[in-house]
């Protein structure tokens, strides 16, 4: 007896567990007959999941929360029983902006506080000379990319709504937009940062692990009502993807994984670019400089796959901070309830709660029990209590 499932995904490296689960036969071994459907926009993934054209989806963690709260769109409660990736984004800036930042920087260039303050000085200079405000590309209003950029620049004193422009761009358009000067920088997941560097038109300024030590990026999302009707399938999905994640994290398997992901109907970019991402060893500037990080992208290792409601609370706090929604204690609760460690534990029988820390480079440690108190520590924001 096999269960046919349609799962939507966006061609990004953090769809790795979904792709490996199918192409290595892990899904079939669990009795799941999965058809992966490649999509072109997060709006499509969300809508097709919402109306039932997809049974499950690769989804931006904040979209799962926004959908459950009915923010910016219809309200469809989502359950996220599995994290597909922790971290994995990077900030890439144009050579011109990179040069301007390096001229202003006072401190280590990998220290986000130093770069954020340098950005503030560049922004102030441009204001004085009446230059156009800098424009930053990100992927979606409810995205980690949006919040990571905002968190970083605000820490340096740049108001993301007043001092610069943030625009949504589909990931495949980011590189072209940076090349033709339409934007000055972007935050996006792999492989797009590496592609910009390889083309010589961008410098990777930060891995987002510099901004937040641990930030949930994409989740495996299902409709909450569907998860209640199909608990066995949800458990099988968790087991399948944990097995895939463990396979991906085994360094010896990386070349095979990279070539699997590189297939044209999957991610469709060069396998070497994908492997760099999985290894956390990235070329960060056109001159060939390499930077390594053990926290660049986590797929399952260090308990990364287990959903953590504190992460959901942090994302909700960002929605509040940037005026996407007013703070409501019951909404915070609903947001946290989207992340389902209970479903994860039920599937894999493991319940040792991973140490939870967002680990932001600025501000006090995050406390989900006092979101407003936490936000009050930040000078820049648009929240109303």
């Amino acid at each position: 007896m096999t269960t046919p499932l349609r799962i939507g995904f966006i061609p990004l490296v953090d769809a790795a567990a979904l792709i490996v689960a199918v192409d290595k036969g892990f899904a079939a071994a669990e009795g799941l007959d999965v058809t992966l459907v490649r999509e072109v926009s997060w709006s499509n993934v969300r809508d097709k999941l919402n109306i039932g054209l997809f049974d499950a989806a690769h989804l931006l963690a904040p979209v799962a929360i926004a959908s459950s709260l009915g923010l910016g769109h219809v309200k469809v409660p989502i359950a996220a029983p599995f994290n597909l990736g922790i971290n994995g984004n990077a900030f890439t800036v144009s050579p011109a902006l990179h040069a301007a930042l390096m001229e202003e920087i006072d401190g280590d260039r990998f220290d986000p506080m130093a770069t954020a303050r340098a950005l503030a000085r560049v922004v102030a200079k441009r204001k004085r000379s009446r230059a156009e405000p800098l424009t930053f590309g990100m992927t979606f209003p409810f995205s980690t990319h949006n919040y990571q950029l905002r968190f970083w620049m605000a820490a340096g004193g740049v108001d993301p709504d007043e001092d610069v422009q943030l625009v949504v761009l589909p990931p495949p358009y980011m590189v072209d937009s940076l090349a033709n000067g339409h934007i000055d920088a972007f935050c996006v997941g792999a492989p797009w940062n590496s592609i910009a560097v390889d083309l010589g038109i961008g410098h990777i300024l930060h891995f987002t692990a510099d901004i937040l030590l641990s930030a949930v990026e994409k989740v495996l999302a299902v409709r909450q009502d569907w998860s209640e009707k199909h608990p066995d399938v949800v458990a099988a999905l968790v087991r399948t993807h944990l097995r895939a994640a463990e396979f991906i994290e085994e360094p010896g398997n990386r070349p095979a994984v990279a070539s699997m992901l590189a297939q044209p109907e999957r991610i469709g970019v060069d396998a070497s670019v994908i492997q760099r991402t999985l290894d956390g060893r990235l070329k960060i500037s056109p001159d060939g400089a390499i930077r390594e990080s053990s926290r660049y992208l986590l797929v399952g290792r260090e308990g990364a796959a287990r959903p953590d409601p504190v992460q959901a609370a942090w994302l909700y706090a960002q929605m509040v901070r940037w005026g996407q929604t007013p703070f409501r204690p019951e909404a915070l609760k609903s947001a946290m309830a989207v992340f389902r460690p209970d479903l994860y534990d039920a599937a894999v029988g493991h319940s040792a709660a991973a140490p939870s820390a967002v680990g932001a480079f600025a501000g006090p440690p995050f406390d989900p029990n006092d979101v407003l108190g936490h936000l009050a520590a930040f000078r820049i924001g648009r929240w109303k209590s």
Partner: protein, 196 residues
């Protein structure tokens, strides 16, 4: 611009043919204010310049995510825009997503005024898909014809047959082997490549 007169409709579609089909359909139905945007650079500023009541976008267009930005509180937006996916009308949402089209409307536009527009978009999108399908099949048939002609040429040359005889030979072989004549022709081409 009052929404009671003909609403202003923006079509965001990179396919000029499909956009033309849609535009024509909307005009025939009496919606005269139709603007087609095919260039995705600076999409939002283009949309703001037109100031539409309804935006129609194909689901294969990655710029759909760009439109989502309109729902955010922003100084650039002159009026709120909401998406036409009302949970009370699940059937029409399903129909539009399956047809590959999505629509966004300005808040306050009455639902009964939008329904005919969306229905029209769905039927035109489906018509386009059918057209595309027919086109693909025609293309395929043309290619098959080329393959058959080349295979005929090979048979004529190698076996000294007339064109008619070469065709009859392929057709009878196809019937005997329960295959399409195109497949037989293709195997002749492959074999002759190998034997070169």
């Amino acid at each position: 611009m009052s929404a009671e007169s003909s609403p202003k409709i923006v079509i965001v579609d990179e396919s000029p043919i499909r956009a033309a089909i849609l535009e024509e359909g909307l005009r025939e139905a009496g919606f005269t204010g139709v603007v087609h945007i095919s260039e995705m650079q600076s999409l939002l500023s283009r949309i703001y310049a037109v100031d539409p009541d309804i935006i129609v976008i194909d689901l294969e267009n990655p710029s759909r995510d760009v439109l989502e930005q309109m729902f955010q509180v922003s100084r650039a937006v002159r009026r709120p825009v909401a998406m036409f996916v009302d949970q009370s009308d699940a059937a029409s949402i399903q129909a539009s997503v399956e047809a590959g089209v999505s629509a966004y409307i300005v808040d306050g536009l009455k639902k009964e005024r939008i329904k005919p527009i969306l229905d029209l978009c769905v039927s035109r999108f489906n018509a386009f898909a059918k057209l595309q399908d027919e086109l693909d099949r025609t293309k395929h048939a043309l290619e098959e014809r080329k393959v058959i002609d080349r295979a005929k040429g090979i048979l004529m040359k190698m076996k000294g047959l007339t064109e008619e005889e070469a065709y009859v030979l392929m057709r009878s072989t196809a019937m005997r082997e329960k295959k399409k004549i195109g497949e037989i022709a293709q195997s002749i081409l492959t074999a002759s490549e190998l034997l070169k």
